[in-house]
């Protein structure tokens, strides 16, 4: 079954400070949508609003035309999975137990054989079988991230939200995790929404890119159309060069921060003149 996610004039304030202002967006089926933007621009808040971790006004998040704020939380968690930026568990759980938590929305009284099967298959899919009986807190951040993604996948969601899933990882794990997401979107028609910092990874793996600036959508579209030198300068305040990478995707090379006084702009002009 396919689900369509529509965001309609979504706004959100922490106490009096507005974080999101009238965000409109439609997410297509089976696409990877990356959200990029400076720190504090509202990326994480946006994800949390979609997932009802933060409460929003009625009729701002629609799933297949239905108001998400009226859907029972348990039902919603069968549709949407969420992978937070950092995960720690107060008490030690084994990896298997951790992934098993993803079945929580589907459990009525006790677990069925089917639940165990889904958990085992998910772990197989992510290649973390060997970790099954290890303790979560003893794993490396890359392994932990995979476990948390496995937990979200065990929910069997149709929409998966991830908050900077690659921020603490080495290049190998970054590629592995993003490939998993790509595979998920293509083979299981799951819509994936990822908040990211790394513009080049976002450019490489997403179907569409959304640049968010001070709580508003600045630009949305294919990586080619959105990742331009002008856009990056006006959103991040950073001069950059955008070239075509070996993988035929736009590649951003940040050069210098424009807001940082004379010293920096001298360097900038030196660098840019060399390359011209």
């Amino acid at each position: 079954m396919a689900l369509k996610l529509t965001i309609n004039k979504l706004s959100f304030n922490y106490t009096s400070f507005p974080v999101l202002k009238d965000v409109d967006l439609t997410v297509d089926l089976g696409e990877i949508l990356s959200i990029v933007g400076p720190n504090g621009s509202g990326k994480s808040t946006f994800l949390k609003c979609i997932n009802r971790i933060l409460k929003t006004k009625q009729n701002t998040v629609l799933i297949d035309g239905k108001d998400a704020s009226k859907i029972n939380l348990k039902e919603l968690s069968k549709i949407m999975g969420y992978v937070p930026q950092n995960s720690t568990s107060t008490f030690p759980f084994t990896v298997f137990d951790m992934v098993l938590m993803g079945r929580k929305p589907h459990i009525h009284w006790s677990l069925s054989e089917r639940d165990y099967e889904i958990v085992a298959e998910t772990m197989n899919f992510l290649g973390i079988n060997e970790l099954a009986m290890r303790h979560f807190n003893e794993l490396s951040s890359g392994e932990q991230q995979k476990v948390i993604i496995a937990r979200a996948l065990a929910q069997q969601p149709q929409i998966l939200l991830l908050d900077e899933p690659t921020s603490n990882l080495d290049i190998k794990h970054q590629l592995e995790i993003l490939n998993i997401l790509k595979c998920l979107a293509q083979s299981k028609h799951c819509s994936v929404i990822v908040a990211m910092h790394d513009l080049n990874l976002a450019s490489r793996f997403s179907d569409r890119l959304l640049i968010i600036k001070q709580g508003c959508i600045f630009a949305v579209g294919t990586p080619e159309s959105v990742l331009t030198e002008e856009n990056i300068e006006s959103v991040y305040g950073v001069k950059s060069r955008v070239t075509n990478s070996v993988l035929d995707r736009p590649q951003v090379t940040p050069i210098v921060s424009v807001s940082n006084g004379v010293e920096n702009s001298k360097i900038a002009s030196q660098i840019t003149s060399k390359h011209k």
Binding site: R52, M80, F91, P92, M101, E117, A120, M133, H135, N137
Partner: protein, 358 residues
Amino acid sequence: MSTAAELKRLYHKGKKRKIIVILSIFIALLIAVLVSVSLGAGSPGFEAAIRVIFSKIFPFLNIDPGSKLTQSIILDLRLPRIVLAIIAGAGLAASGATMQGALRNPLVSSYILGISAAAGFGAALAIVFGIGVLGGVGSYLVIVNAFIFSLLAMVIVYGVARLRGVTTETVILAGVAIGFLFSALLALIQYLAPQYEALQAVVFWLMGGLTKASWEGILIVFPIVVVTVVLMVQQSWNINVMSMGEEVATSLGVTSKRVLTITMVLETLATASIISFTGVIGFVCLISPHISRMLIGSDHRFLIPCSALVGACLLLCSDTVGRLVLQPTELPVGIVTSLLGVPFFIYILVSKRRQSWR
């Protein structure tokens, strides 16, 4: 796919191990009961005790129950005490495990909501001034008062926490604050107590003990503890999910505030009903969950029942030692639990490599 099936088998093997551990603790508890019932002031030993119990359970077997005195020692003195020790230990430890899980804090015990101080205040009010909130005479005045004030503490804590949104932090802070408030009121009563005897009685009550165990008391406490502990176990999935934090819990369809409220109510009912009869018995509710976590891990489906059994064992053994060690007088169980439990706890703390909390 063979690996997925293997994985499932591996998990079930681990699960079986946990069940075996729980069963072993249960057997240890049974042995403790047999030892405890055969020892103590008065003559009856193991054989006499067994004979009395079997003649009561299976009257059709026509076993000679022995003399009236023997029967009375076993049935009216030793057994009620043993049964109350088991119920109290189990209830307190299960509450402790539940609260540590729900509040995501390994330092929490079932007294975190200020219950012990409130119960102490209620009891002192009855002992010193004979003031009861509800009717009741004699020892029941103390029991009812202690119970009512425990509930009152929980209601105040919940009310305060609610003003700032029911989160783990607000509940713990409000609980500590209300605990201090009732401690101060308790101290005030002790300071103002007109007679020395009353003061002594308050101190004695606060130490906690199982000396006043009776079948009537057990009839009241037993159903409350059984029902609340079963309901706690029913919350175990929610508590598991909550240990990953409120946001993750929400994304898995669990409303933390609701679970926190439910566990608070259950924990208070169990703890309050127990300590109104026994006085404040500390430590069991803090240490049993940790021992259990080291034995079988953090999955609350197994942890809560395991804690209950460990708590029952611990309290029963402590009480038995307390009864025997200074014959003909005895040591209050609260003192013995700490004296025995702390070294044991420290031993497993240093001997286990893996931490049972973060």
